[in-house]
């Protein structure tokens, strides 16, 4: 069972995602409305299958698939794809899936290479339902923030093409500037809300458990710093403190920051796996 769920299925999922990426690359070079519609529907079905795997993995190992770095990257990729699949249904042009697909396929591959296998025993700091919920929420928040970075990158690409009068394929196939801006703001706001909730949950949990673990406190500090920066970005977007392309650039920067902090956190949690 473990072999199927934690070894074979991730490889199948990776191959499906890689196939979808190849399909979209083909559509980009050989435009086809029917092809786009089919690939979009296929992407939607695939996202349900991906989530199905996450649920099965959770049931089998008694914890969300966040027990090692491979599982975590894999799970994050799935969350990003689910969010992107939902959001792409809100716009007419669909070519925005290309960039997230590249990110997701890379995450899946990295996850498989680092190992998605079920650990023999669950580490103490990763066991328990509250930890599971906190980690899943945090991952969902990170997925939304990374998604916002993807939209920002596409927004900046289209902005550059519009300003420099480059009327090529990207100009034609990306969603409109306003749509991308709307999606970026929605992702950012949703990411902020989820991260805030996750953080509050962790604080309440620490308070209740009267925890003074130095590991937890050292994990909390960068997260609170990130939350503060994130809140500033959300406010800047809400009140239009910067020009729209600059807001997109800051979103992209924020995504990179989130990614770096994520890697640092992963190193702290799973550091021994690298050793």
């Amino acid at each position: 069972m473990d072999l199927i769920v934690f070894r074979l299925l991730p490889i199948v999922i990776f191959l499906v995602a890689a196939f979808l990426l190849a399909w979209w690359v083909r559509i980009f070079s050989h435009p086809s409305r029917i092809g786009e519609e089919r690939a979009s529907s296929f992407g939607g079905v695939v996202s349900i299958i991906f989530i199905g795997w996450a649920i099965v993995a959770t049931v089998v190992q008694g914890q969300a698939p966040v027990l090692n770095i491979g599982q975590l990257l894999f799970f994050l990729g799935i969350l990003i794809w689910a969010a992107q699949s939902y959001l792409q249904s809100k716009v007419r042009q669909r070519m925005l899936v290309l960039l997230p697909l590249v990110v997701i396929v890379t995450m899946f591959l990295s996850g498989i290479l680092l190992g998605t296998g079920r650990p023999e025993r669950i580490a103490e700091n990763l066991s328990g339902g509250t930890t599971g919920v906190h980690m899943v929420l945090s991952m969902a928040g990170v997925a939304m923030l990374l998604g916002s970075g993807v939209f920002a990158a596409e927004q900046l690409t289209l902005h550059r093409h519009l300003k420099n009068r480059i009327f090529g394929r990207w100009f034609s196939y990306l969603p409109s500037l306003e749509d991308l801006d709307r999606l970026r703001r929605h992702s950012l706001k949703a990411g902020w809300l989820i991260v805030t909730f996750s953080l509050l949950m962790a604080l309440v949990w620490m308070q209740i458990g009267n925890s003074t673990s130095s590991a937890l406190i050292s994990h909390l500090h960068p997260m609170l710093t990130l939350w503060t920066i994130l809140t500033m970005f959300v406010l800047a977007n809400k009140y239009g403190w910067l020009a729209i392309n600059r807001l997109a650039a800051t979103s992209l920067f924020l995504s990179v920051l989130v990614l770096v902090l994520l890697l640092v956190s992963l190193y702290e949690i799973f550091g021994k796996d690298f050793a």
Binding site: R92, S176, R246
Partner: protein, 432 residues
């Protein structure tokens, strides 16, 4: 195959000749009737648009090219010299030509969409006049399917190909749907009106019009359902607008950096300026302001050129898809060329069935008559289907026709005239 076409288009004839040769709706009926009455043909469809006049014929036997030209000359009223510029295609080439036409590959503006509905109208007219036969029915339905398929599977019809449509495309690249966006129209000339018309079609309902001559501005405002405001537009008007279209004949810029800066202080949302005037109506420096995108006539021309280039690249893929569709049509035709023999077979078997049934039905109880009738039909159907399937299966190197000929000779002894007609048709198919 029994298919031929003659016609002229923008590549072979001048607009004067095309005008003269055009067969408008009032002339089509008469022309079709003449063709069916005078010439030995079993079906005709006429496609007449501003760029082409083409007659698709399904003849009983192929017509010599000179006769076809003479016929075209007589029907359209053009001179014999002018008729020499007409092109003639037969069989597979004629099918290929129509499929290319329906796909927009033969259009003056590559990939244009309108021609597909013109082909559809031509076919419907033929159906209405009862002038189409099964060969033309299949040809036109396949051509229409091909036109749709090619457009859905390639980018042959994508991108803006006129300045006005380029302006609208730019607006949609910035705003997506234009519904619910405010548009300020500066100028009320022909260009401004044309672009406004495109935008109204794209769903814009909220307009302000700014024009030097208020009366002219009011005419346009009434036309698009907007209100007239000051000229030149104020910062308040620009702040209100998401999209500003300028098309005045002013020799100096009417939208200045100062006005736009002031407008942006009030409203920081994205602003798009489409400057269709020559010289420019929007100061060049506006381009450098945040949240603004400014485009001028040269940009639209560049967009159009870029779209046309992309369409040319897509045309290569489209041609391949057309070739496949033509092949499918030819395959269909070849599998149906023994149809006269099949019809004859079915008629003969049905005659035998009815005759035998009438002769023997009295031996059965009346209550069983219906069952006996059903049984005999089913029996005959099974026998004929078996023979037809084997005939179709022999569709290589004319084997099917030789078999069909043999079958016709074996089956028919009393109806000599009918037999000869079927054999003549089969011989013709074999030689073409």
């Amino acid at each position: 195959m029994r298919l031929e076409m003659i016609g002229l288009n923008h590549t072979t004839s001048s607009i004067d000749i095309r005008d003269k040769a055009a067969l408008g709706p009032d002339r089509i009926e008469e022309t079709v009737k003449t063709l069916l009455r005078v010439h030995d043909i079993s079906g005709v469809v006429i496609l007449s648009t501003c760029n082409r006049t083409e007659i698709y014929i399904s003849p009983k036997f192929h017509t010599p090219q000179a006769d076809l030209r003479e016929m075209f000359e007589a029907l359209t009223g053009i001179s014999s010299i002018e008729a020499n510029s007409a092109y003639i295609y037969q069989d597979e080439e004629a099918a290929r030509h129509l499929f290319r036409v329906a796909s927009g590959l033969d259009s003056q503006l590559l990939g244009e969409v309108q021609v597909l509905s013109q082909v559809k109208d031509a076919y419907h007219k033929a159906l209405e006049l009862n002038s189409s036969n099964n060969i033309l029915n299949k040809l036109f339905t396949r051509a229409l399917e091909c036109g749709k398929f090619v457009r859905s599977n390639t980018g042959i019809s994508q991108g803006a190909v006129s300045v006005a449509s380029a302006a609208v495309q730019l607006a949609t690249r910035v705003y997506g749907s234009l519904e619910g966006h405010n548009v300020l129209l500066v100028g009320a000339g022909e260009t401004a009106r044309l672009t406004a018309k495109y935008l109204v079609k794209s769903g814009v309902t909220s307009w302000r019009v700014s024009n030097r001559t208020v009366a002219n501005g009011q005419v346009v405002a009434d036309l698009i359902g907007g209100e007239v405001v000051n000229f030149p537009p104020t910062a308040e008007d620009i702040s209100w607008a998401d999209l500003v279209i300028t098309a005045t004949s002013s020799s100096v810029a009417v939208v200045t950096m100062e006005t736009v800066s002031s407008a942006l202080r009030k409203n920081k949302e994205l602003k798009l300026f489409l400057d269709l005037a020559m010289p420019r109506d929007v100061e060049l420096a506006v381009r450098n302001l945040p949240n603004t995108y400014v485009y001028a006539v040269d940009d639209f021309k560049e967009m159009v050129a870029s779209s046309l280039k992309a369409r040319e690249q897509e045309a290569v893929r489209a041609e391949k898809l057309v070739m496949k569709q033509v092949k499918d049509y030819v395959d269909w035709y070849n599998s149906n060329r023994i149809t006269p023999a099949i019809q004859q077979l079915q008629e003969v078997f049905e005659t035998i069935r009815v005759r035998e049934l009438e002769k023997n039905i009295r031996h059965f109880n009346e209550i069983d008559h219906e069952q006996i009738d059903l049984l005999s039909r089913s029996l005959m159907k099974k026998v004929t289907n078996h023979i037809i399937a084997n005939l179709r299966h022999a569709n290589t190197n004319g084997d099917d026709i030789n078999l069909a000929k043999a079958l016709s000779k074996v089956l028919v002894s009393e109806d000599e005239e009918n037999l000869n007609e079927v054999l003549e048709q089969l011989d013709y198919e074999l030689s073409h």
